[in-house]
């Protein structure tokens, strides 16, 4: 958009993604027609992506406070106190739409964006996790997308210097036109040195710092607030281009300038760029801002006010400094060879005033920009869901060879080893990573203390499709259970809620139910949601993705040396199965891999049992009783046992026996919540039994490690008897052979 700016009309407002009612509201409040740059401000800031206008009423259901919460939702990221004067700052965010259009840069800038959300709070990023979803693994486009996304994450994260320590990758045909790229970042900061995105103190100078502004990414926020059609590729210019080297300099410069005491507030210029910062920061502080756009460092000529305000060029921050400390800001950014330009002042009037060469081009109340309308649109259970749930998996034939069925499951790209991706990511820079990717949760030490952090992201969309409330609650439980299995006590949750269009009642019903499920589970487990992201409109040509809430959990180990991993450590250890006996093939990986069916009912979830199982596992780990702990998730107890055998440094077999209280495929591959395998040295068995008795949970011994085969007896019959090297081969190559 160059040259003369068009006259603003209702039609133009509708084109910009606003509704007629929203446009009316703007006219009424301004008492005039908005200018073209002003229309751009409303279009971006009132988009779903920035304003959460369809989701906010539901999100209010989530528990957001607790004794450890230092910062809840509403800032760039949430913060939790972890003791010894330290806080952990973390958040998960999606970059789905850009990653479909341009997978490499889309994923790379997704990493860049979440890193900035963390260090703008004053925290040094110490870990990244990526939850990725793609279409059918055999589709040619999938390979292109997986390679692009993984190399984009690798390029940005590695160059910046933050280790990628976890995440998951799963496949389902519903993601073919809308892959998901959700990135979580965790940072560390002294608890009393957290910075916030505020513009306090009228008269304080406003600095633009970091990369220069170009035309890239204009309308990124509005793009992420609409569905795709076959012309998606035409939107490539709305995808931003990342520069991880500049981001690294920006990190060091920001943390250094924060230490000088010159910083009043700071915010990342992410979605909706300068427009977002210049309205949200003063809105939080009940102040205003007056900025001169011609002073904004630009890398292209002839940019219009509209473009300067809405550019989503990467690696930029808006910083409010204390008056009189301007020289400190300039000195630090000059040291790191970055721009730091004073573009305006904080004002007392509550207006965002943007000028070009002194002439006012936008003059809008910041509260109006920051307070988008909220909607509660109709919800309705999707037609056909009851029928889908009523499907009985036992109408399908049993496998003839259970060993072969297990090998097939281990080779399914969703279950198989993700080493092909993780070896492209630096996993250790910072020398904190005590447990590398590949176990239930990654564990990172906190230097200078005895503590460690455990982090995990999880989400099983098939379960959410069949029962959004319970499925989403199970995602919280699973992420927390993974943290508990490593020995960490879950302290906080961040959620990334990926759904189709909220304007469709059945999609909004999925969303509302899922949020309710997350709220229930978080209350039961006593973990608040301190931040997150909603990504709607994940649809292409009317095909919505599976409803996919991704849950990130951060937990604390008081003693970093008391931790556990999922693989068996030695032969001769007893193996216990903790948790209830209830499992179901409904929505299971087995049902999908073997029968291409996504249907049935989920096993019941009892949140009180879940809480007690997690507490028991943590107690076993912290008492040093558990030599291995592993959550039973996709593929059921049989896959969990096989993973215990093959995912460690040495292959170790196992003899296990399960009761014959259901058909064998249900017993072996059925999935159910609250179930954990624990391995125990023979001399600690009595102690472990005493601990389990105190824990008041269902549990039983099911086997012993050793040998070079996995043998599983159901009732009296050994129906699985497979060499562990065969299991290992299937698991090791199952993902790589689809994507390499």
């Amino acid at each position: 958009m160059t040259g003369a700016e068009p006259k603003v009309t209702l039609d133009l407002a509708l084109d910009a993604g606003l509704t007629a009612e929203e446009y009316d509201r703007i006219l009424t409040r301004l008492g005039r027609e908005p200018t073209y740059p002003e229309l751009g401000l409303f279009s971006a800031l009132w988009s779903e992506h920035c304003a959460y206008k369809h989701s906010r009423v539901f999100l209010a259901r989530l528990p957001q406070s607790g004794p450890h919460v230092l910062q809840g939702p509403g800032e760039n990221a949430g913060a939790i106190d972890i003791g010894d004067g330290w806080a952990v700052v973390f958040k998960i965010e999606s970059h789905n739409h850009p990653s479909f259009i341009e997978p490499f840069q889309g994923a790379a800038t997704g990493v860049g964006g979440i890193l900035r959300d963390i260090f703008t709070m004053g925290a040094r990023p110490i870990a990244l996790l990526d939850s990725l979803r793609f279409g059918d693994p055999d589709a040619p486009k999938t390979r292109h997308l997986v390679n692009g996304v993984v190399s984009g994450i690798s390029w940005y994260g590695n160059c910046f210097g933050c280790p990628t320590v976890g995440g998951e990758i799963a496949f389902a045909p519903e993601y073919a036109g809308n892959p998901l790229v959700n990135v979580m970042c965790v940072g560390l900061v002294r608890a009393d040195q957290i910075f916030r995105a505020r513009a306090d103190g009228p008269g304080n100078p406003v600095f633009y710092v970091g990369n220069k502004t170009g035309r890239d990414g204009i309308h990124g926020a509005t793009m992420a607030s609409a569905t795709f059609d076959e012309h998606a590729e035409e939107r490539r210019p709305t995808v931003q281009v990342g520069d991880p080297f500049t981001e690294k300099l920006l990190l060091e410069a920001c943390l250094e300038v924060m230490r000088t005491g010159a910083v009043v507030g700071i915010q990342d210029m992410g979605a909706a760029g300068l427009a977002c910062c210049t309205s949200e920061m003063p809105a939080r502080s009940a102040t205003g801002m007056d900025v001169e756009l011609s002073r904004v460092p630009q890398r292209e000529e002839g940019m219009t006010p509209y473009e300067i305000l809405l550019s989503e060029s990467q690696e930029r921050m808006l910083l409010v400094a204390a008056r009189g400390r301007e020289a400190d800001v300039r000195r630090v950014f000059a040291k790191w060879e970055l721009d730091a330009v004073e573009i305006g002042r904080v004002t007392a009037e509550g207006q965002l005033t943007a000028r070009l060469n002194g002439e006012v081009v936008a003059h809008v109340p910041v509260d109006l920009l920051a307070e988008a309308p909220k909607y509660q649109r109709p919800t309705a259970e999707p037609p056909g869901l009851a029928e889908l749930r009523a499907f009985d998996p036992l109408t399908l034939p049993e496998p003839g060879d259970y060993g072969a069925a297990l090998v097939e499951l281990l080779a399914s790209p969703t279950i198989a080893s993700k080493e092909w991706a993780f070896r492209q990511y630096d996993q250790q820079v910072g020398i904190n990573t005590l447990v590398l990717p590949g176990s239930d949760a990654a564990v990172l030490r906190v230097k200078g203390t005895s503590r460690a952090l455990a982090v995990s992201t999880d989400g099983n969309a098939r379960q959410v499709l069949l029962d959004p409330r319970q499925g989403a609650a199970m995602a919280v439980c699973e992420a927390a259970r993974n943290v508990s299995c490593s020995g960490g006590e879950p302290r906080g949750v961040t959620d990334c809620l990926n759904f189709g269009s909220p304007e469709r009642p059945e999609i909004l019903w999925q969303f509302a139910e899922a949020v309710e499920g997350i709220a229930l589970a978080c209350r039961a487990l006593d973990v608040p949601v301190v931040g997150g992201n909603v990504s709607f409109y994940n649809e292409t040509s009317g095909q919505a993705i599976l409803p996919t809430p991704i849950i990130g959990v951060v937990g604390v180990l008081d003693d970093a040396s008391r931790r556990a991993t999922q693989w068996f450590q030695a032969p001769g250890h007893r193996v216990a199965l903790l948790g209830p006996p209830h499992v179901s093939l409904g929505g299971s990986e087995y049902l999908w891999t073997r029968h291409r069916r996504l249907a049935g009912r989920l096993a019941p979830l009892d949140l009180e049992v879940e809480r007690r199982v997690q507490r028991a596992v943590r107690a076993a780990v912290s008492a040093g009783l558990a030599t291995a702990t592993h959550d039973c998730s996709e593929g059921g107890v049989a896959v969990a046992l096989a993973e215990g055998c093959v995912t460690g440094r040495e292959l170790i077999g196992c003899m296990a026996a399960l009761p014959a209280d259901a058909r064998a495929d249900v017993t072996l591959f059925g999935e159910g919540p609250s179930r954990v395998l624990v391995a125990v040295e023979p001399e600690r068995v009595r102690e472990f039994e005493a601990l389990m008795a105190e824990s008041a949970i269902p549990w039983r011994w099911i086997g012993t490690t050793g040998g070079d085969r996995l043998v599983v007896t159901v009732g009296t019959k050994a129906i699985v008897d497979v060499d562990v090297s065969r299991l290992e081969g299937a698991w090791r190559h199952g993902f790589e052979r689809h994507v390499a």
Binding site: W336, Q424, G430
Partner: protein, 237 residues
């Protein structure tokens, strides 16, 4: 022993080296900014891993012409020791302080993984606590670690015993399968003719604590200290 850890724009292993030197080895250490030319009081300069200047142009190319690297010539001539790891090795080659060049990994992908290294030259200040044939375990993390040198240079390296580490299998055998990046003859680290400038792609600082999965990297630091600590506390292994 006084260590200096150089910081370029884009360096990221600086803090890790600093931590190991000060918290594990309890030796004096300071950061050295890339614009510094004065290295007077230091005994050993570390060029750490990272993406100096974004590794735009070529890995290490810009840093190889920075003031601090220009000052290394004099520092080495006065007997100073230089350890370049990862990006530091790339910089030393770009600066001409070591021969050869590091190019894009043969797999065309970044590689972060554990590797085994067989020690070939145990007669340097960095390796004198080791023995030839000893196998160390250390991680790599790079996209451009494939070592190349022209045939004459390679012949000279071998003739003068300047190859310090090669990628190997767990038993020390140098095989194609154990070469993670396609390096010429599995070369993982080399030294200058005086033995005072060592470049290596693996990360010793990531293998210096049991908690981090191994302490073979520490053997190198201990070798270094043994070569300068005069109280005799160092014992050759």
């Amino acid at each position: 022993m006084r260590f200096g850890v150089v910081v370029f724009p884009g360096t990221w292993s600086d803090c890790d080296f600093h931590y190991v030197i000060s918290e594990v080895l309890h030796q004096p250490v300071q950061y050295v900014w890339h614009r510094e030319r004065e290295l007077g009081q230091l005994d050993c300069v570390v060029l750490p891993g990272g993406f100096s200047y974004g590794d735009y142009l070529r890995a290490g190319a810009v840093a190889g012409r920075s003031p601090v690297v220009e000052a290394l010539g004099d520092f080495v001539a006065r007997g100073g020791l230089v350890l370049g790891s990862c990006n530091g090795f790339q910089i030393l080659c770009e600066a001409g302080l070591l021969p050869g060049v590091l190019t894009r990994n043969e797999c065309l992908q970044y590689r972060c993984q554990s590797t085994h290294l067989v020690v070939e030259n145990a007669d340097t200040p960095f390796t004198r606590g080791l023995r030839p044939g000893q196998v160390l375990t250390m991680p790599i993390s790079h996209g451009e670690g494939k070592y190349y040198a022209d045939p004459e240079t390679l012949a000279r390296l071998k003739r003068q015993n300047l190859v310090v580490f090669r990628y190997a299998a767990a038993d020390g055998s140098v095989t194609k399968a154990s070469n993670p990046n396609g390096s010429l003859e599995n070369i993982a680290g080399i030294v200058n003719a005086e033995g005072t400038v060592l470049g290596m792609m693996p990360h010793p600082e990531r293998a210096s604590e049991t908690a981090m999965g191994g302490t073979d990297g520490l053997l190198m630091f201990q070798s270094l200290l043994g070569s300068l600590v005069e109280d005799g506390s160092f014992l050759k292994r």
